[in-house]
């Protein structure tokens, strides 16, 4: 698209990936943004909205392959459209992150509380009263998820992004499933609490870890308070030995909970969560080390001195 052709406004042709038929065009002005190109797609395709549209350009090195357009301002609209063609993909129904987080956390909170308060409905009236440890477990569990919900809406800073709707069902199955399993056996009339020392030690570990985890979240949020896209090396005592102290303290909080309550599914839940957080921590740690040449060498990803 030569810029100097008389009478022709600069525009980019939009195609579906893998198709040769042009869907539509979008005029490129000085202030055109990617979302305008997405809106052009949505005008032609019923049922689509910008969050569902992903933009791609042809991969110059590999025929038939595409490269996703990086919307975090790494590529300018002009650069992406320099070949005159741009491609889109329908990502499927989307849902907002905060919506997913809310339901992921609200479910377990309700499930444990309901299991605790309706023990008689579940196991009959001829059962002993809930023990102190069982009550404590309920408070800890409910408190943990209440904290998470508050953090989602008042602390965490993330881009107003969306994720595929399927993730809602996948994530809720995981959280709600484990919540039901842990709650059932901890609230059970034949639940056997561990020794008092375990209960005390577990509780203190839980509370201390939750506080440290919260402090980590606040520190990370402060980095993005003024600039939501800021990417810096986090500092502070919690970060002295770790890239992701939030994941470390989350695991320690569950460890405390399990020392206090000692249930098979409690430990399984902690293990499953840890494995996922390990994967996330390693990725973030790698990214930090790649981005910052002076990244502190002593820091590990998720367990100090180990990994």
């Amino acid at each position: 698209y030569p810029e100097r052709v008389q009478g022709t406004a600069m525009s980019v042709a939009i195609y579906k990936r893998g198709s040769d038929t042009k869907l539509t065009e979008c005029k490129l002005g000085a202030s055109t943004q990617f979302v305008d190109i997405k809106r052009a797609v949505c005008e032609k395709k019923r049922g689509l909205y910008p969050e569902r549209v992903a933009l791609y350009i042809e991969n110059k090195e590999k025929a038939g392959a595409y490269v996703r357009v990086d919307l975090d301002a790494k590529q300018s609209v002009k650069d992406a459209c320099s070949s005159g063609k741009i491609f889109f993909k329908d990502l499927g129904p989307q849902i907002g992150w905060n919506t997913v987080f809310f339901w992921e956390y609200f479910g377990p909170l309700c499930i444990f509380a309901a299991t605790f308060f309706f023990r008689n409905a579940i196991w009959g009236t001829d059962i002993p009263e809930a023990s102190d440890v069982q009550r404590l477990a309920m408070y800890c569990w409910v408190g943990h998820y209440a904290k998470r919900i508050l953090e989602t809406f008042f602390v965490h800073v993330h881009a107003q992004s969306t994720m595929p709707l399927f993730n809602l069902f996948k994530n809720c199955s995981y959280y709600w499933g484990f919540a039901a399993l842990v709650a059932y056996f901890v609230c059970h009339p034949q639940y056997a609490a561990p020794a008092e020392l375990n209960v005390k030690a577990g509780l203190y570990l839980f509370i201390g870890s939750e506080l440290c985890n919260g402090w980590t979240h606040l520190t990370l949020a402060n980095i993005r308070r003024k600039n939501p896209k800021a990417y810096e090396i986090p500092t502070g005592p919690l970060f002295a030995l770790l890239s992701c102290p939030n994941y470390f303290f989350e695991t320690m909080a569950w460890f405390g909970f399990n020392i206090m309550t000692q249930s098979f599914f409690g430990y399984m839940f902690m293990l499953a969560g840890f494995l996922q957080m390990l994967e996330w921590a390693l990725a973030r740690h790698r990214k930090y080390r790649k981005t910052f040449k002076n990244y502190p060498r002593i820091r590990k990803a998720i367990i100090p001195f180990v990994i």
């Binding site: 056996f185 901890v186 059970h188 034949q190 639940y191 056997a192 561990p194 000692q262 249930s263 098979f264």
Partner: protein, 238 residues
């Protein structure tokens, strides 16, 4: 490195050939017992041990996936093998156990027959496909079979599996354990604060067919579309 790859491929081809041979024998025996002799009640006696050896041998595929010999995802292999082993060693083995001989009826045998027809056919196709794939030449007919046979075999196989499971459920509800798992019930109170019963595990297993079958079926349909394309019929003629 190329030498190591070569050895791995020789091993894999040998594995697939053995499996294909074993399942071919099972398919032949199944077809003979059901269609030539017309005696489904003899199917278990004739195939029990071969079936147990070749189906259990498939755990090697978990190792192949973990060690990176093959590209398929570990979670998929794990799910598939776990459900097969459960269906065989927990469900069918219980139905045919000595203790339950009195409850055995024509439906025990019919569901087992459906299960066998589906499993044997699918496995012969699958292992032949894998073996020839490593050697680099899969006849287009086999390719078509691999991505089309499941269309009727999945429903037939699942009917056999679920039918067998429903038949076995009363035994589990009474606290019976499968012959291979003498200790399958654990009750509270205990220091792990956990309990399980074959009855509840079996009900969970039954429930998992509801999301499981559509998920696997749709996944295979997607692969079919990609591998055979829109001109699936054209490909078959070629």
């Amino acid at each position: 490195k190329a030498a190591v790859m070569g050895i791995i491929n020789v091993y894999l081809v040998a594995y697939n050939v053995c499996m294909a041979a074993g399942w071919s024998f099972l398919l032949y025996t199944t077809a003979q017992t059901l269609f030539l002799d017309g005696k489904p009640e003899q199917l278990w006696e004739r195939t029990e041990w071969h079936l147990k050896v070749f189906q259990t041998g498939a755990v090697l595929e978990l190792l192949h996936s973990l060690l990176g010999f093959v590209k398929s995802p570990f979670s998929r292999a794990l799910l598939q093998i776990f459900s097969r082993l459960a269906a065989l060693w927990v469900v069918v083995d219980t139905n045919y156990a000595q203790a339950n001989a009195a409850s055995r009826n024509e439906w025990t045998d019919n569901f087992f027959a459906m299960l066998m027809l589906a499993w044997c056919t699918v496995e012969v196709i699958r292992y032949s496909f894998y073996g020839l794939n490593i050697l680099g030449s899969v006849p287009s007919f086999l390719n078509w079979m691999r991505y089309s046979a499941f269309l009727i075999l999945y429903p037939i196989g699942v009917t056999g599996e679920v039918g067998s499971l429903l038949h076995a459920m009363p035994f589990f509800d009474q606290g019976q354990c499968p012959p291979a798992l003498p200790a399958c019930n654990y009750s509270m109170p205990n220091s792990f604060n956990v309990a399980y019963s074959m009855s509840s595990l079996a009900k969970f297993f039954l429930f998992m067919y509801i999301p499981g079958l559509p998920f696997l079926y749709l996944q295979m349909l997607g692969e079919r579309r990609r591998k055979l394309g829109g001109g699936a019929r054209k490909q078959k003629k070629n």
